[in-house]
C-alpha cells in the first residue's frame, strides 16, 4: 500500500481550511434535517492498515475520532437518538456493535475508538471489504432518519503484493481464485466498478440513505485514479461519477492537524462561522462575529471554537461567560472551547492560534401572536402583533429584520423595533379567527404559532357616553372638560393617544396639545352609576388656534382585562394667548365707550332732529301782537279782555331757527336732553315773569299758566297759540285791584282764516283764548288759596 505523505506541502493547508467551512450547516450530512424526533446512526470506519504507523505515528486519528464521537454525543441532546458503531477496515472489515450514544455511553464508545483506532497492522487496504461491511452494518438494522458513514483512511485501495500470503489472498469479489502477485492488479482493478457502477456499494449506501463523510490523511491528488474516484465520488463530487453524491470529502496532509480537521468536520447540527479573524495568533470572537453569520446572535445557544496551535494548544483567556468548557489535546495542539452565550454581548479571546473553525448552535425564534385591534368584528379589518421570543428572551431591534415572518391570513408588515404587524383586511364570518404564523430564523430553523381570536365578542367596558362640548380658553391651560362615563362593569379608561395638535391661525405653526384623564393617562372607574371624569388639555405654547383635537381611548373592562374597546374623543378647542388683563380692559373700555358715545351721539342727533322747530314759512304761520287788560271782578275772579286787537298789516312771519322761534315777545326754544331716552321738548315763554297761554282748540288744546316758561312741544310753533306775559309787579298790583295792561302774542296758521279777514278771525281766537286763560288763572288762584289756607 502506498502511503500518501505530503506533510510538508504548505499549500494544501490553505486548501483544507475552506473545505472545513463547507461541511457544516444546520442539517446533518446528506441534507438530513434534525429536530427533536430525528434518529441518527453513525458508522465510524477507521483505517487499520499498517501504513498508519508511518503516516500517523502519534495516533492523531484516535484523537480526531474521539472528537467525532464527542460531537455526535452532543448532538444526542437535540435529537431523539444517536447510535454509533466503531468499525475498522484494512484487509477486511472489523465490525462493531451499534451503541446508543449519549453522555452516559460516551466513555464506552471512546474506549472502542481507542481499541479500534489503535490497530495499525493490517497488510492491505481494501475499499471493497470496507464498503461491503459498512453496507451490511447499515442494512442489518432498521434505518434511521439520518445515516452517516464517517470514513477515515490514510491511503488508496491497495492489495500489497509484498504482503500477500503465499497461497494468495481470498477475495470474495475475485472469484477466479486467490489474489496473487500475478493477478493482484487485475483484482484491484475490479474495485471502482464494484463501488461506483450502478448497483455498486456507493449506490447501495446511497439508496439506504447513508451519507459518506470521507476523511483522507495524505495528498489525495497523488492517489491512483480508481481510489480517487471512489473517495471523491462518494465524497460528493459528481465529476467522479460514483454514488449519489450526497457525501463530503476532506483531506489533510499533516497528521498533526488530523484531530483539528476531524473535529471541525464532525461539528454537525450547527452553522459555521466563516472567516474567523486570527491576527498574530490572537483570536477574538464577539457577538458581532456571531451576528455576521446567517442568524442573529440572540438565537445562539452554543458556540464551539476548534483551534490549533503550533506546538502547543492555544490558550483561552478566561471569558466573562459563566458557562464555558475547554478541552485541549497537547499532542496535536488542538483545543475545543464550548461556550454558551446568553444573548448579551460577549467576548471570547484566545492566543497562540494557528487555525480555527467555529460553529454556532442556534434555536429558532418562536413567534408570539396577539391582537392589536381590541375588539375584532366579522367583516372588519383586524390588526395583529407578532413578537419573537428567542432562547434568551424577547428579540428586538434590527435582529428582527433577519427573521422572516409569513402567514396566509393577512399581510405582514415590515418589522419595527419590537415586532411585526399583520393586517387582515376583512375578518372572516366565523366565531373566531385562527391565525397561524411561520417564523423562519434561517435555514432549517423555523417555528410556527397559532392563536385563536374570538370575533364579535361583546364586552362591557367603561364608555364615555357623550362627546365633550366645545372648549375655549386662553393661555396654556389646562383646559378642563367634564366627561360623563358609564362604568358598566367597571374597569379602566386610557388615552392611547394623549396628544394632538392645533394649527395656529396667525402663522400656521403647530401647537401641541397634551391630554390627561383626571391627571393621568388612565383612570379606573368602578361599576355603578354615571360618573364624571375630567379631561385636561394642556398646550405647549399659547397662540390663536381653533380646531378639533382627536384623542383615542381604550376601555378595558375589569371582567375581561384581556379585551378592550377603542373610542375617539373629538374636542373642539379654541384657544387664545393669555392677555394683559389690565391693558385689554382699558382698551376694551375705551372702545366700548367710543362705541357708546357714537350711539349716544346718533340718538342725540335723532332727538335734536325730531325736536326741531317747524318752519313757519312752510306752514304759513304768522304772529301778531295784541294788548289785553287783566283785572279782577268783585268776586275776585280774573278777567281778561282785549284792549288793542291786531290789524291785518301787523301779521308777521316769526323768526325761526331749528332750535328757536321768536314771534314778538313769544319765544319757543328747543330742548334736547342728553339722556337719549328722554323725548325732546320746547320751552315756551312770553318774555315776562308769568306766562299764560292757550293752545287749541280741541282736545289737544290746553291752557297753561306758568312762571317764565312752560314745557311744550316743538310742534306748538305751528299754532294756534295765544300767550300773554305778566310781570310780577303787575301781578301785585292786580292783587290790589288795579287793572293791568299786558302784552300778548297770537300765533296761528293764517290759512285757517281763509275766507274772512285775518284780523277778525284772530280777534275771535284771542277772545276765546283769553277767556280760557282767565279761567285758568282764576282756578289756579283758588287752588293756591285753598292750599295756603289748608282747605285741601
Amino acid at each position: 500500500m502506498r502511503r500518501l505523505l505530503s506533510l510538508l506541502v504548505p499549500s494544501l493547508i490553505a486548501v483544507s481550511i475552506p473545505l472545513v467551512a463547507l461541511a457544516q450547516t444546520e442539517e446533518l450530512p446528506g441534507d438530513c434535517a434534525i429536530d427533536e424526533g430525528t434518529t441518527v446512526r453513525v458508522l465510524l470506519l477507521i483505517d487499520q492498515s499498517g501504513s498508519l504507523a508511518r503516516t500517523d505515528p502519534d495516533d492523531q486519528r484516535i484523537t480526531g475520532a474521539r472528537a467525532v464521537v464527542r460531537s455526535y454525543a452532543s448532538l444526542a441532546e437535540r435529537v431523539e437518538q444517536v447510535e454509533i458503531q466503531v468499525a475498522g477496515f484494512g484487509e477486511g472489515f472489523v465490525t462493531g456493535e451499534w451503541v446508543g450514544l449519549d453522555q452516559d455511553t460516551l466513555g464506552a464508545v471512546l474506549e472502542q475508538v481507542e481499541s479500534v483506532g489503535s490497530v495499525n497492522d493490517q497488510p492491505h487496504t481494501d475499499y471493497v471489504y470496507a464498503l461491503d461491511g459498512a453496507s451490511e452494518a447499515f442494512a442489518g438494522s432498521s434505518p434511521a432518519d439520518c445515516q452517516i458513514l464517517f470514513w477515515f483512511t490514510d491511503g488508496e485501495h491497495d492489495l500489497d503484493t509484498d504482503l500477500l500470503p503465499a497461497g494468495g489472498l481470498e477475495r470474495f469479489y475475485y472469484p477466479e481464485g486467490p489474489v496473487t502477485p500475478e493477478n493482484a492488479d487485475e483484482a484491484e482493478a475490479l474495485m471502482p466498478g464494484l463501488v461506483c457502477e450502478q448497483g455498486g456499494y456507493a449506490d447501495l449506501l446511497g439508496g439506504a440513505g447513508v451519507s459518506a463523510q470521507i476523511m483522507v490523511l495524505g495528498d489525495e491528488s497523488g492517489m491512483d485514479e480508481a481510489s480517487r474516484r471512489v473517495l471523491r465520488g462518494m465524497g460528493g463530487d459528481p465529476a467522479f461519477d460514483c454514488g449519489p453524491g450526497n457525501g463530503s470529502f476532506q483531506s489533510v496532509d499533516d497528521a498533526a492537524r488530523l484531530p483539528f480537521i476531524m473535529a471541525c468536520a464532525s461539528q454537525v447540527g450547527s452553522y459555521e462561522l466563516a472567516d474567523l479573524p486570527v491576527e498574530d495568533g490572537r483570536l477574538v470572537v464577539t457577538e458581532q462575529t456571531v451576528d455576521a453569520g446567517p442568524l442573529p446572535y440572540q438565537l445562539a445557544t452554543e458556540l464551539r471554537l476548534i483551534t490549533r496551535g503550533e506546538g502547543a494548544a492555544p490558550e483561552l483567556i478566561p471569558p466573562a461567560l459563566a458557562d464555558f468548557t475547554e478541552t485541549t489535546d497537547a499532542s496535536s495542539g488542538t483545543s475545543a472551547v464550548v461556550a454558551r452565550p446568553v444573548g448579551e454581548p460577549f467576548t471570547l479571546e484566545m492566543t497562540g492560534v494557528a487555525e480555527v473553525c467555529g460553529f454556532v448552535t442556534a434555536v429558532a425564534a418562536t413567534p408570539v401572536v396577539s391582537s392589536s385591534t381590541p375588539s375584532l368584528y366579522q367583516g372588519e379589518a383586524g390588526e395583529f402583533r407578532v413578537v419573537a421570543d428567542g432562547p434568551h428572551g424577547r428579540i428586538e431591534g434590527t435582529a428582527l429584520g433577519r427573521l422572516q415572518l409569513g402567514t396566509d391570513a393577512g399581510q405582514v408588515g415590515t418589522p419595527d423595533e419590537q415586532g411585526w404587524t399583520i393586517g387582515v383586511p376583512a375578518l372572516p364570518s366565523e366565531p373566531e379567527l385562527e391565525l397561524t404564523v411561520d417564523l423562519s430564523s434561517g435555514r432549517g430553523l423555523s417555528a410556527s404559532a397559532t392563536a385563536a381570536f374570538a370575533l364579535n365578542e361583546q364586552i362591557n367596558a367603561p364608555a364615555i357616553i357623550t362627546q365633550p362640548p366645545p372648549m375655549s380658553g386662553e393661555g396654556l391651560g389646562p383646559f378642563l372638560i367634564d366627561l360623563q362615563v358609564d362604568p358598566r362593569d367597571g374597569g379602566e379608561i386610557c388615552l392611547t393617544t394623549d396628544s394632538g395638535s392645533l394649527t395656529a391661525s396667525d402663522d400656521g405653526s403647530t401647537i401641541n396639545v397634551t391630554a390627561g384623564l383626571d391627571g393621568s393617562d388612565c383612570v379606573q372607574v368602578e361599576a355603578g352609576g354615571i360618573r364624571t371624569v375630567t379631561l385636561g388639555l394642556t398646550l405647549d405654547r399659547s397662540g390663536f388656534a381653533q380646531g378639533v383635537v382627536n384623542l383615542e381611548t381604550r376601555s378595558t373592562p375589569s371582567t375581561r382585562p384581556d379585551r378592550s374597546e377603542v373610542g375617539n374623543l373629538a374636542v373642539d378647542l379654541e384657544v387664545t394667548p393669555p392677555a394683559n388683563p389690565a391693558l385689554v380692559a382699558v382698551i376694551v373700555t375705551g372702545l366700548m365707550l367710543l362705541m357708546l358715545a357714537s350711539l349716544w351721539g346718533i340718538v342725540y342727533g335723532v332727538n335734536r332732529l325730531i325736536g326741531r322747530i317747524p318752519d313757519p314759512r312752510r306752514n304759513r304761520v304768522r304772529y301778531a301782537n295784541f294788548v289785553a287788560e287783566i283785572s279782577r271782578t268783585e268776586y275776585g275772579e280774573v278777567r281778561l279782555g282785549m284792549v288793542e286787537m291786531p290789524v291785518d298789516s301787523e301779521f308777521r312771519i316769526p323768526q325761526r331757527t331749528p332750535s328757536r322761534l321768536e314771534a314778538g315777545r313769544l319765544s319757543i326754544a328747543r330742548k334736547v336732553s342728553p339722556l337719549p331716552w328722554a323725548a325732546p321738548w320746547a320751552e315756551i315763554g312770553a318774555g315776562a315773569d308769568v306766562v299764560a297761554a292757550h293752545q287749541g282748540p280741541g282736545i289737544p288744546g290746553r291752557t297753561v299758566v306758568s312762571e317764565r316758561w312752560y314745557r311744550g312741544r316743538a310742534r306748538d310753533a305751528l299754532g294756534p297759540l295765544v300767550a300773554i306775559g305778566v310781570a310780577s309787579s303787575q301781578v301785585d298790583r292786580l292783587a290790589e285791584g288795579t287793572a293791568q295792561k299786558v302784552p300778548g302774542v297770537l300765533l296761528f296758521d293764517i290759512r285757517e282764516a281763509r275766507g274772512s279777514d285775518a284780523s277778525r278771525f284772530a280777534a275771535g281766537m284771542i277772545d276765546e283764548s283769553l277767556d280760557l286763560i282767565a279761567a285758568e288763572i282764576s282756578t289756579r288762584q283758588i287752588v293756591e288759596e285753598m292750599e295756603r289756607t289748608g282747605e285741601v
Binding site: 390663536f544 381653533q546 394667548p577 366700548m592 325732546p680
Partner: protein
C-alpha cells in the same frame, strides 16, 4: 283709552290730510318692522358664535362687522323715524293690541344690547388683543 291718536291717525283738533296720515302710519310701522327685524338679524348673527375672535375666524369676524353695520345703518335711522312719527303725534297713544311701540322699543334695546354687548365687545376685545401684541 279711546280717542287717542296713533301716528298718522289724525286728531280731532287738527285733522291731517288722509294721504299724509296713511304715509305717516306706514313709516311708523316700517320703522317698527325694521327695528324688530334688525334685532332678529343681529341675534342670529350672534347665534352659535364663539366668544373669542381669532385671526383665522373670518366668518365670525364678518358677522360682527355686519351686525354693527346693521345697527348703524338700519337700527338707528329706523329708530329716528320711529321716534319722529311717535313724537309728531304727541299725547297718549292709541295702539293696536300688538303694541307697535313696545315692539319698536324692544327691537331697539335688543339690537343695541347685542350689537354693543356681544358683537361690539368681542370686536373690542379682539382689537385690544391685537393692539397689545398678543398675536
Amino acid at each position: 283709552m279711546t280717542n287717542v291718536p296713533i301716528p298718522g291717525g289724525g286728531t280731532q283738533a287738527r285733522t291731517a290730510p288722509r294721504g299724509h296720515a296713511s304715509a305717516s302710519r306706514r313709516w311708523f310701522y316700517a320703522a317698527v318692522a325694521v327695528l324688530a327685524g334688525s334685532a332678529l338679524a343681529i341675534a342670529l348673527l350672534a347665534w352659535g358664535e364663539p366668544w373669542n375672535l381669532s385671526p383665522g375666524m373670518a366668518t365670525s369676524f364678518m358677522k360682527s362687522i355686519v351686525a354693527l353695520v346693521i345697527t348703524f345703518v338700519l337700527v338707528l335711522p329706523a329708530f329716528a323715524v320711529f321716534r319722529y312719527e311717535r313724537q309728531s303725534v304727541g299725547g297718549r297713544w292709541h295702539e293696536p293690541p300688538w303694541r307697535p311701540s313696545l315692539i319698536g322699543w324692544l327691537g331697539l334695546l335688543v339690537s343695541l344690547g347685542l350689537a354693543v354687548g356681544w358683537h361690539g365687545l368681542r370686536l373690542a376685545i379682539y382689537v385690544a388683543r391685537v393692539w397689545t401684541g398678543e398675536l
